[in-house]
């Protein structure tokens, strides 16, 4: 059976839809629904002036997805406004990360990106006042077990997620971009000091473009779960297309990755988008970061596993070995988060103590 991932085909070469029959469109729709990328495809086809080539039934599903994305876009801007107001007493710049930040930066594809949580970055010494300010304004952590509290507060890079009691929206408050217990330690102070103010807002900031790319790449390579890996790869592909129109971008990206010890995750992220979508990367840049890859054979195994797990998003394109690949990467994701003497008891506990 043909196991093609149609999304990858189309992102790489949108014109290919001219050769699609209805069965191919059916699979493209189903895979894109499963990966939360159907609204993005609408944007992509619009940009390439291909909407007229598409069957009406397929258009209908894309329009439906686009309505959800637009509604989310309205909701996110309102949420940013509420968070800015809630934190006005904390005397900090409010720095938004990931989905909300892409929208605030108006990266063209970002209006179509579906996500569930809003992420912000605050200085570690301000965590308590931020948490209190959010509590006073309607966000609540709900019931979090003592173990989970300790897990987050001692080992992680964020506090337990808080949910707004009326709007039901979730905010993740981070104080750095990787867990405290992980091997890499990018400096959050530098991320904050170089953050960029968003025009038309009083106190809303996003990371500098190179940091936004590095954060996305790091996140992708340190995750243990792959439901959204393909969407995250599309983020990187689109961000890089958008930011690399500035000629200085690549040099800056290399410098910053080196400074922040993030060359390896950056290498793999760049390798994957280039392999999957044909994202154009300058040759000198590729050669330079290539030196940071893992040694043979870990390098090739890692690449294979990652490509299998991130592209197997629907029954119709699940590759052989996906179950094993996903399991190995799940373990790896946790292993990168914390040393073994913490990880083994943690995973044992998670598998025996049922979540309430």
């Amino acid at each position: 059976m043909n196991r093609q991932n149609r999304i990858i085909q189309v992102v790489k070469n949108p014109e290919i839809v001219k050769t699609y029959d209805l069965r191919a469109f059916d699979l493209l729709k189903r895979q894109a629904q499963a990966a939360d990328l159907l609204a993005y495809l609408q944007f992509l086809f619009e940009q390439h002036d291909l909407l007229a080539e598409l069957p009406d039934k397929f258009l209908e599903h894309m329009e439906t997805a686009r309505y959800y994305a637009n509604a989310q876009h309205r909701a996110v801007l309102w949420e940013v406004d509420r968070i800015e107001k809630a934190l006005s007493s904390c005397d900090i710049p409010v720095i938004f990360l990931k989905g909300a930040a892409y929208q605030l930066s108006q990266i063209p594809f970002s209006k179509t990106r579906i996500f569930s949580d809003i992420d912000i970055l605050v200085p570690k010494q301000k965590l308590e006042s931020v948490e209190n300010a959010l509590s006073r304004n309607g966000w609540s952590m709900g019931k979090v077990s003592a173990y989970d509290q300790r897990y987050y507060r001692q080992w992680m890079h964020e506090i337990p997620p808080m949910r707004h009691l009326r709007r039901n929206t979730v905010i993740d408050v981070h104080h750095t971009i990787l867990p405290e217990t992980s091997r890499l330690h990018p400096d959050p102070g530098q991320l904050m000091s170089e953050s960029v103010k968003v025009p038309d807002w009083d106190n809303v900031f996003v990371l500098a473009p190179v940091d936004m790319v590095l954060h996305s790449a790091t996140h992708l390579l340190h995750e243990g779960e792959f439901h959204h890996a393909l969407r995250d790869l599309v983020d990187l592909h689109e961000m890089i297309k958008f930011f690399s129109t500035e000629s200085i971008f690549w040099q800056q990206l290399y410098e910053r990755a080196k400074q922040q010890q993030l060359l390896r995750p950056l290498y793999y992220a760049i390798l994957f988008i280039n392999k999957l979508f044909g994202t154009s990367i300058p040759q000198w840049f590729m050669q330079k970061i290539e030196k940071s890859r893992a040694i043979f054979p870990i390098n090739s195994i890692m690449t294979e596993l990652f490509l299998i797990a991130s592209t197997s998003i629907h029954d119709s394109c699940t590759l052989p070995g996906n179950t094993l690949a996903s399991w190995l990467l799940y373990i790896r994701g946790h292993y990168l988060r914390m040393p073994l003497y913490l990880l083994v008891p943690h995973l044992l506990r998670k598998s025996f103590v049922s979540e309430k």
Partner: protein, 301 residues
């Protein structure tokens, strides 16, 4: 070709292997299941629906028993929409009703070309009677009775108002009857074909009334003419009272599935709908009185 033109054996083989595709209003559905009540329920209640050979299907639905101990101990059924499970499993005895609820959910989440109202719609003389109402207002019973009295059924559950032109798209499906309504409708008409009763669901006892052949095949889209908010009131006489348009606007918004998703387009569509229609409050207890009143309304305007 319609479903009843397949012999049951052949139908059953197809549903339990590749699944069977058929047209429901503007949508195409593929159902795959080896659960007997699902197969016989569809064969009975969807017998007049057109079988499709399409390669592009809107909703890929799979109902199966979970592959664990629950296969034998208090057996359950899982509703799966193309690999996604929007609901927790239900007792196996509710499998056919689960198909109906699951398909409602699928349409409600994937049809943003329409303003989607929680509403029954019936048609007479090419004009649509729209009955938006919350659960428990007697909407389905009234809708079932009207559909058995010369009104054409467009939907008992979800009105599809086309954003493009404001016309109502038919989505004729089995009418969901609850508790006492099942016997009321049985007594109301000898022609009523009603499927098996699923007992003790979260909504009580549930059974489905078959939509007639005309309702299934007629795909014409009538213009909205009457917006009526029905309330079943024990012992009450059937009364239609004019309703303020602003009040009807809010009543419609409160019964809309995708108002916040459609945003400004929902506001414009609702405005157009309310402006186009005569708006009424309606209270009733006796179905015969209710039908008399609606027949008169249709005749006079």
């Amino acid at each position: 070709m319609i479903i009843s033109s397949l012999p049951f054996k052949q139908f059953k083989d197809r549903v339990s292997s590749s699944g069977i595709s058929f047209r429901v209003g503007p949508f195409s559905v593929n159902v795959r299941s080896s659960i007997d009540t699902v197969i016989s329920g569809i064969y009975l209640l969807y017998s007049n629906y057109h079988i499709l050979d399409d390669d592009f299907i809107d909703f890929w639905i799979h109902l199966q028993q979970p592959k664990n101990l629950r296969r034998w101990y208090r057996p359950q059924v899982v509703f799966n929409l193309d690999g996604f499970q929007p609901f927790k499993p239900l007792p196996l005895s509710q499998a056919f009703a689960f198909f109906e609820w699951g398909l409602n959910w699928a349409v409600a989440k994937h049809a943003n070309r329409y303003l989607l109202l929680h509403s029954a719609v019936l048609e007479k003389n090419n004009r649509a009677l729209i009955l938006p109402a919350p659960p428990g207002s007697g909407k389905s019973t009234l809708c079932a009775a009207l559909s058995l009295s010369g009104w054409r059924l467009l939907t008992d559950e979800m009105a599809l108002t086309q954003l493009s032109d404001g016309m109502i798209r038919p989505l004729a499906r089995p009418v969901s009857l609850k508790n006492e309504s099942i016997n009321i409708i049985r007594a109301f008409s000898k022609e009523a074909v009603i499927g098996n009763i699923a007992k003790d669901t979260t909504k009580g006892d549930v059974a489905h009334l078959k939509a007639d052949k005309q309702a299934v095949s007629d795909q014409s889209c009538p213009a909205p003419q009457w917006l009526v908010s029905p309330v079943y009131t024990p012992e009450a006489k059937a009364v239609l009272e004019p309703m303020d348009k602003a009040e009807m606007f809010m009543h419609t918004v409160n019964n809309c599935f995708n108002y916040n998703v459609l945003g400004p387009d929902a506001f414009h569509a609702t405005t157009r709908l309310v402006e186009q229609c005569d708006c009424y409050h309606f209270s009733y207890s006796q179905l015969d009185d209710a039908i008399g009143l609606f027949d008169k309304l249709a005749f006079e305007s």
